[in-house]
Symmetry: C2
Subunit: 174 residues, 2 copies
């Protein structure tokens, strides 16, 4: 069976949107909300502000209550009838995220068993046929078929196959 690995943050979980809410409500920034939907935090925030963002990412509970990306749940369920689905998150960057991410998957993707969940760092060690990820670096180092999932951080990237949303993924793979 063909294997597909799916990233979590900004592919299944609307992590960037939750962080925008945090930044607008807790940081004293002049950046307009619309700009955060067009570029990465790294490009828009100061080093000090990025430290605050990293700090909230390391807060227990942060990853437990992230909203779903539109259409992700239903699309992954449909894909799971035809493909072996793995969920691969670079969770190792955030020690406090492990249980929250695991429990979030239990809540929203209970049909993906523990055998098919991966917390890693560098995703170049993944041996699946597809990887759907919003990180340009992950898609660039992946050995098989990468699909770049559109996110504010990758809008100007044009080297890879791209899906703007889960409807487009379904059209490609179902």
């Amino acid at each position: 069976m063909i294997k597909i690995a799916l990233d979590m943050d900004d592919v299944l979980a609307a992590t960037h949107d939750k962080l925008i809410d945090y930044v607008l409500n807790h940081l004293d920034t002049d950046v307009a909300e619309a700009d955060f939907h067009q570029d990465s935090f790294e490009n828009l925030l100061s080093v000090k502000e990025m430290k605050q963002v990293h700090s909230v990412l390391n807060t227990p509970g942060f990853f437990r209550t992230i909203p779903l990306i539109d259409g992700a749940q239903e699309a992954v369920y449909e894909l799971s009838k035809h493909y072996e689905i793995y969920i691969a998150s670079a969770a190792m960057e955030f020690r406090e995220s492990f249980k929250d991410k695991f429990d979030w998957l239990d809540e929203h993707f209970p049909f993906i068993p523990w055998t098919n969940r991966i917390f890693c760092g560098d995703k170049s060690i993944l041996y699946t046929d597809y990887l759907i990820d919003d990180s340009v670096r992950n898609i660039a180092t992946f050995k098989a078929n990468g699909i770049l999932f559109t996110a504010p951080s990758n809008l100007r990237e044009n080297r890879f196959v791209r899906a703007d949303n889960w409807e487009e993924v379904k059209k490609m793979l179902l």
Copy 2:
């Protein structure tokens, strides 16, 4: 650089030995201690006893204080000068183990960064050149060069390249 993935339990960490101590001290079993060094718990314990073993594996703290396997720390440090080392544990089976395993790695293998740590289930999705693991299933489904690390559960297996200890691994790879 050639990539080597290393299992944690019974390759880096003496998990089976710690479980033997637990079984002998807490379960009412007639199995002799020597037998636990020659066969798997699955083959020696009852279903009810195995449930107790699984319960202790899911206790917060269990994986945090496991002793090192003889020679593992020094051998992995030597290997890390010549190979890109990843540590890949099937931690997903035990939700309470994540932080303990991460902190254990910070203590004993601080030279392996978070980018090179993997918590997974099915290891057939690993894309490295070598996998050193005591699980026959993991070695059997691995696509590249598997090295079966000797443990009580695999003594009767003879299909794979085997290393009895870290001295043998060093002789093979250094």
